[in-house]
Symmetry: C2
Subunit: 116 residues, 2 copies
């Protein structure tokens, strides 16, 4: 559990962001984080094994879509909305709105705290 690497805002690449969000699980994760609130790793519920979930979170992180914070032995994930909006104005909003409107990236939800 070493400190994860995050690309600087100016190093975020469009192709990477697009292909990162081009996966159903990752799009679902982004959609889950769309409200800007930070979520605990354990709250995230995706229809994949935890090692796979870890992989997807890494792809999102490496692409610059999310930021992971570590607190003790647990992690918290948050969308880098401001950074993305600074670099690609309107992109994230359009993607998230489209995902919401068409229920894309389904299968990803919250655990414990219940839906909503």
């Amino acid at each position: 559990m070493k400190q994860a690497h995050h690309p600087a805002t100016e190093d975020v690449a469009l192709e990477e962001v697009l292909s990162a969000l081009g996966d159903p699980v990752r799009l679902g994760l982004a959609r889950l984080l769309a409200d800007g609130r930070e979520r605990g790793w354990g709250q995230l519920a995706a229809p994949v094994a935890k090692s796979t979930l870890s992989h997807h979170l890494r792809v999102l992180r490496d692409a610059g879509v999310t930021r992971t914070r570590q607190e003790g032995t647990r992690c918290f994930v948050v969308l880098r909305r401001a950074d993305l909006d600074a670099r690609f104005p309107g992109l994230l909003a359009a993607v998230l709105e489209a995902a919401e409107a068409h229920d894309a990236g389904a299968g990803v939800g919250l655990r414990g705290t219940g839906p909503a």
Copy 2:
């Protein structure tokens, strides 16, 4: 060279569009077509073999990003801007603007008619 299949506007999937545009060559092609003008297949110049170019154009077509029209033995490609905008408002504009701003998808250009 049989008539290619195009998805109906309501069948266009967000994940497919995003991952279609997540490739440098395809993003470059989309960027090239961003002005809405129709281009001849032969005008498209990408740093790949023609079979590969054909493949990429098919991915874009299958994802609903472009439309291919056939005239005799040659093809013309155009961006399905209105369709995409109807289904995912603002998405294509944000992607193309971001690509333009950061010169993403480079290596794709025009042949014959010269740049511009």
